[in-house]
Amino acid sequence: MTAGARRRRLVRLPQYGALVLYMLFLAFPLLWMLSTSLKSSSELVSVTPSLLPSSPKWSNYSTVLREQGLTRSAWNSLRVSLASTVLVILVGLPAAYALARFRSRLRTAALGWILVSQVFPLILVVIPLFLLLKQLHLFNTLPGLVAVYLVWSLPFALWMLQGYVASVPVELEEAAAIDGAGRLRTLSNVVLPLLLPGLVATAMFTFISAWNEFFFALVLIQSPERATLSLTLARFLGAEGQVQLGPLAAGSLLATVPSLVFFAFLQRRLTSGLLAGAVKG
């Protein structure tokens, strides 16, 4: 072994130590919640708890799935998230195309606005929306919540989408036009397929933000039967009396699954290289 290799190995040791500490900090709370969700109610009150449940049980999960309030909230969350994702894409795609393709002063203003709108505290957004929804009789309804999620996710989705549109070379559209394709045909047969990965990424991002959202739902939804998952879980915790930690942990883990799955996909999609060879050859 050369002196250099030995020195490198000596440097690696503290690096691995640090990496292990990071992983502990990041993973331990998750493992603890998993362990809590597998413990029996008698084991959960132990004052000397251990990470490994003495006899893992799935009963907390079946309790949660039988809980009518939680499954209904999951259904509400799913419908609201899907509807707002579809709307954001339908409204956002033409606007993003216009933003990316037509250079004008309006474009600068719109992009500036999108960035600025991120600075505003949500309290300034939620009060006017609350008043508006009351007027329209959409307060405490799921369609009202969907409309608010559209407003709230649109700026960032636009920002993402116009970036993806800008990365589709204009030359491709020009080539299609020269080949005799009409405007609509160019868009649907040339631009859209290339845009698809970006579209999927934006859609997933919008879905995750709606699925995870809490503040707007807290303000705008009042009936328990229309509550989203985050709302119901938070109320579960806030309820007076004994909190059932086991079912709470089980429900929380189940509620995380959809976002986690989408996120795993998003990771791969973001690095998709569909465009790499599009202008070559």
Binding site: V11, Y16, A18, L19, Y22, M23, L26, A27, P29, W32, M33, V45, V47, T48, P49, V91, P94, A95, A98, L99, L106, W113, I114, S117, Q118, V119, F120, P121, L122, I123, L124, V125, I127, P128, L129, L131, V151, L154, P155, W211, N212, F214, F215, V219, L229, S230, L233, A234, L237, G238, L245, L248, A249, S252, A255, T256, S259, L260, F262, F263
Partner: protein, 279 residues
Amino acid sequence: MLPALLPILLFSAIPLVRGLTLAFTDSRAGFNVPTHFVGVDNFSRLLDNTLFWSSFRIGLIWAFSVTALQFVLGLGLALLLNQPLRLRWLARTLSLVPWAMPPVIVAIMWRIMLDPSVGPISTTLQRLGLTDSPTNWLGDFSTALPAVIVVGVWAGMPQTTITLLAGLQAVPESLHEAAALDGAGSWQRFRHVTWPALRTVVAAITSLDFIWNFNSFGLVYVLTAGGPGGKTMLPMLFAYNEAFRYGEFGYAAAMGDVMVVLIVALLLFYLRSRLRSAT
């Protein structure tokens, strides 16, 4: 182009402008309550509201601490992930998980972790004999804010780490090799090669983190609801209570306006000094 941009105007700009201007009215919750223009009344009332300013101070402590810790820890992790270490893929995956989790669930998870009687932290400290009674992290005046800050750092690590890692990977390998050939040690390479190249990424992510942290709501709402005794009452929680508990819409909007002005001023100051040091 105009029709395509109409949705931005309709759904994004108009509500925000309406929110900003509500602060100059006496808008209140309730049916058919007439709203009047009251000028700067809300702001002068706000000036005397010591509770709001103490909440503002708490918000600043929270946002600065969380942002600084996120940055230091995120940079450390990003530097490690940029090394050819084994298990790197696992650490990378783990570092992304908090991002995908709903804030409410992050809060629930940490409520379980920090539980005084059955949580792992409090019981381990007792078993080791470091404390003799259960520690109520979220309920004690002195520990509530630090505990909430730790949770905030945990929840916000991914964005910071991934952005910094992307920045690190954009630093050309050849620069490092050239510096190493010239005899620069790893600290010198970090100081003179990596750090200057990261400058814009650092400015961007710390600014964004600060905005997100200052405006955050769900995490602390579920963890402590602002308690104990207002020790973790972030400005957003304060404004929320004002608007939706007491129905004072105009007053709450004024608080929101004050928050915007402060954030913009701080950001301008910060970004200007960072950009000046770059040239």
